[in-house]
């Protein structure tokens, strides 16, 4: 079945200043369009090539070379979408990637709608059940339906908070509605005064939630993760070990200085940008000092710190410095066992922490940084790192990759809508409108919040009315 006669194209890597960008094109004319703009050696044409091959060459527009590229040629049906697919690996940078997309469109492709590649994959039977569900969610996020995946990402506190707010909203709505349904038994006159106070509180709660939304980080490929520690603590071997576990390397770019290497990896669906830094120690060496300063600034801007401790040598003032630097950050501490005896234990880390920050203990603010013992030699503990990362991510402690951003925008809009609706309730109260007008906006707020937690109204209101208020007859 191929009802999609048009060929679609989109930038499939995040729009960023990363080293490599991929522009993807799918559809009946994908190869034909690619041939129009591709210039390879010996005038080769892509349409004559075998499926699933890579071709070096240039993208040319009006005789001008735009970029040096690798083109992946994949013919139907064994592609993600089930259609002929071209992937152009070009040099990253917003300008080049967009330019290539423009050229594709000029030559007959159409910009893909959000989720359209996956939609085609689904329609062409290329996705299994669970994948398709998630896809449906993703596509319909424009149709106001809750993203199921987003619901599972929304864990713990925020969900509880939203449910708490919803519970209050439905209670007040049910009271008003029960009075409207049974005015001779239940009186709602003058309820606006009470309600307004309640709404003020709810507005404040919503405002708090809204202020936690972070939409300043649009251009991000993943969670900015910095590996730090004293020199020779085993940072680089950790990075290699993580990369070895996961073969899903997307980009591999040299950092801006020799001292910082950035890797993009994907651990069970969570994207991390890992930056391996120069070891931190007090130094007079100018070159090394630059590296250390750089590291400090990376730590400042990181979403997550992985702090590698060499367990074979005692904690010293360099460790103390690192502790201070990462104190306000989300972090994981790794105790790297070498062949030598473990001198530093989990308890020592905790002890050191309270020694440095006594105030925290008094405030009952306990040390909650995960400490994991690992062995780079036997790879013990790598699993646990992954598990811990996942847990932090799903608990909402880490939340800055692309997917989460989409989710956040939707959540933020929903929160914003709920906020506006509640504000309108107060406006109605102030304007002296009758009580039945309040419930119109109350229900809207309830519904908006429900779209975050993935719940629909259904019979909620009717159930609440009957369970809380005694109806007559």
């Amino acid at each position: 079945m191929n009802q999609n006669s048009t060929t679609i194209a989109a930038i499939s890597t995040a729009v960023s200043t990363s080293g490599i960008g991929i522009v993807r094109m799918s559809g009946k004319n994908a190869i034909f369009i690619a041939d129009k703009i591709y210039k390879g050696k010996h005038n080769k044409t892509l349409s004559n090539q075998k499926s699933h091959t890579i071709h070096y060459g240039y993208i040319v527009d009006n005789g001008y070379i735009i970029d040096e590229v690798l083109i992946m040629l994949m013919k139907a049906p064994h592609t993600f979408t089930g259609e002929d697919t071209i992937e152009i690996n070009c040099h990253g940078g917003i300008y080049v990637v967009k330019r290539i997309l423009d050229i594709l469109i000029k030559n007959g492709a159409r910009p893909a709608e959000p989720g359209e590649f996956t939609k085609r994959a689904f329609l062409n039977g290329r996705l299994d059940l669970s994948q398709a569900e998630a896809v449906g969610d993703l596509i319909s996020s424009q149709n106001e339906y809750a993203l199921k995946s987003s619901v599972s990402q929304l864990k713990g506190n925020i969900k509880n908070k939203i449910n708490e707010i919803r519970k209050k909203i439905i209670y007040h709505t049910a009271f008003i509605e029960s009075a409207l349904d049974d005015p001779e038994h239940i009186n709602v006159d003058g309820y606006g005064k009470n309600l307004k106070k309640e709404i003020e509180k709810l507005l404040e709660d919503l405002y708090q939630l809204l202020s936690t939304c972070d939409d300043g980080r649009i251009i991000k490929e993943g969670i900015r993760t910095v590996i730090t520690g004293k020199p020779n603590a085993g940072k680089s071997s950790l990075l290699n070990s993580l990369l070895g576990e996961e073969r899903a390397i997307v980009t591999d770019i040299a950092g801006t200085t020799r001292d910082v290497l950035e890797e993009h990896i994907n651990i069970q669906g969570i994207s991390l940008n890992i930056i391996d830094t120069a070891g931190i120690r007090d130094t007079e060496d100018i070159i090394e000092k630059i590296g250390v300063d750089k590291t400090k600034s990376y730590i400042e801007s990181a979403d997550l710190i992985i702090y590698m401790v060499d367990a074979s040598t005692p904690l010293d003032y360099n460790d103390e410095n690192i502790f201070k630097m990462i104190r306000e950050k989300k972090s994981i501490i790794l105790l790297n066992k070498s062949d030598l005896d473990m001198i530093v234990k989990k308890e020592d880390i905790e002890k050191k922490y309270y020694e440095l920050f006594p105030a925290k203990k008094e405030k009952n603010n306990l040390f909650d940084v995960p400490v994991i013992e690992i062995s780079m030699k036997t790879s013990d503990g790598i699993d646990e790192i992954q598990k811990t990362l996942r847990k932090m991510f799903y608990d909402g402690k880490l939340s800055f990759n692309d997917e989460i951003y989409i989710t956040n925008v939707r959540h933020k809009n929903a929160l914003q809508n709920a906020y506006e609706s509640l504000k309108r309730v107060n406006e109605s109260i102030d304007a002296g409108m009758p009580e039945d007008f309040y419930s119109i906006d109350l229900i809207d707020a309830y519904e908006s919040l429900g779209s975050i937690t993935g719940e629909t109204i259904g019979e909620d209101l009717v159930n609440e009315i009957f369970s809380k208020f005694c109806m007559g007859k």
Partner: protein
Amino acid sequence: MKYSANSVWESKEQYDVVVIGAGHAGCEAALAAARLGFRTIIFTVSVDSIALMPCNPNIGGSSKGHLVREVDALGGEMGKVIDRTFIQSKMLNKSKGPAVHSLRAQADKARYSSTMRQVLENQENLEIKQAEVVNILTENNRVSGIQILSGGIYYAKAVILCTGTYLKARCIYGDVSTYTGPNGLQAANYLTDSLKELGIKMYRFKTGTPARIDKRSVDFSKMEVQFGDEHVIPFSFTTNPDDVQINQVSCWLTYTNKKTHDIIKANLNRSPLFSGMIEGTGPRYCPSIEDKVVKFADKERHQVFIEPEGIDTNEMYIGGMSSSLPEDVQYAMYRTVPGLENVKIVRNAYAIEYDCIDARQLKPTLEFRNIDGLFSGGQFNGSSGYEEAAAQGLIAGINAARKLQGKECIVLDRSEAYIGVLIDDLVTKESHEPYRMMTSRAEYRLLLRQDNADQRLTKIGYEIGLISEERYQNLILKEKLIDEEIKRVSNTYVGTNEQVQILLEKYGSALLSSGTSLAELIKRPELSYDILSLIDNKRPEFPKNISDEISEQVNISIKYEGYIKRQQKQVEQFKKMEKKKIPDNFDYDNVKSLRIEAIQKLKEYRPVSIGQASRISGVSPADISVLLVYLSGISG
């Protein structure tokens, strides 16, 4: 009980439509079919019980009043009959917004019933027949007629089931149980088995009614009097308002107390619910007094309304105290209520159990999905209330007729009418209790007002053929006058002259510092279109019988403009999903990405649109997305 006939005979008459049951659903169904030109016969177990009101003695009430108005706007009968037989009338929620204003009238039960009976008796194309229907006859999943208890067979092209609470009915109080319909009327004991044989899934529901008492045994001096409205507004758009300004009777308010509750609590073990004698599911919205006392134990008292059953009878209804406790407990508990110390019970309170269907077997047209030409309406569909019944009966009657006309059936959606909400809920949502209309069920209630039912539905009624040309032209005129008047007041400016400022001051409204339009002033909560007539020198004269209605429409349209526009926007969104139709023969098994539960539910309900599918419990938003994606793929 399975019916076996001793002698079978065939009626010589040819009918188009058979209606089974002559309650509020059956009456509307039969009238609609007959009025649309189809030869119709209506069966009832007792001609004396046509349009019987076996429970509360009123028509309308919150959201139910809307239904009556809508029935009337489509060309139904209920509104006209209650306008001729009411003995008290009130507009409920008058201090609230126009969306929740709702008419409720106390009926003279006997006169309501006999008036409706006369309408039926004099209706061309309609015959009344007293007989118990025992079988539904089908050929190849198409209805062909019915059989009655005597063995007689009546052939018909369409059959409408409106059996109310009569199927295998059983009335219970204390340890007494009788196999009768309401008021000791004969139950219909055979039809259930015939329906089951046709593969129809049955439920057993329960409801109840309070005692009726002798007016002479009531001390009204201990109660608060409840008057009707000074100015009565009729239900029917065709009734001249002057004709309903009658002398009204009063109702009375009193309360239960601790003594009442103690007696009830002490005797709960004698309740048939307690002993397990009642299996049916009761409604939460009209709980028995025992339910109320148990469930809301912290409430010190409950209201009790004493309402007359009619002009020519001493019987009164004890609103708020339905019960299935034994007779001696009923006496004891009623007599604790102030004013009822010496009360004499004419008819005991009782609970009633009856067979009804799981309405999810119906299309939104109220035709059975699996049996062509078989329709149903009313309490048989799992609803409750006279008004809900009438609304469904009317739609079932209209659609049976349209099917025979070869026309597309009528389905009102949730944004068009309470009737649409009612039927959509019934055929879409799983329900374990009799369904009652509630204003909170209507998402777009600001648009579905009782005052604009004619503007919403009378054109549809006209197209169907139940609204006369004259009535239709009157509506067109009314709408034109409303539109023109809204334009006029929006473009009429008043200055800051003394006359204006005096008026504003009188109503506590801020004085004007510069000129403004009348429409802007109408928007102020303390002012209205009517109030402003004093400073509106060019206000036109409207035809007297619709003058009030026009003023009301102009006032509401301008005053609540912002809210109304917002709901209209929501309706647009809603319509988009309703318009995404799912083909009749859509194969859900083919959509591999749907969850198993969703596939089962969707196959069971066979929703007509994505919108309807989204309201089915057990179908998740993710499933809807998958369906959307899949359907968009099919349509290209």
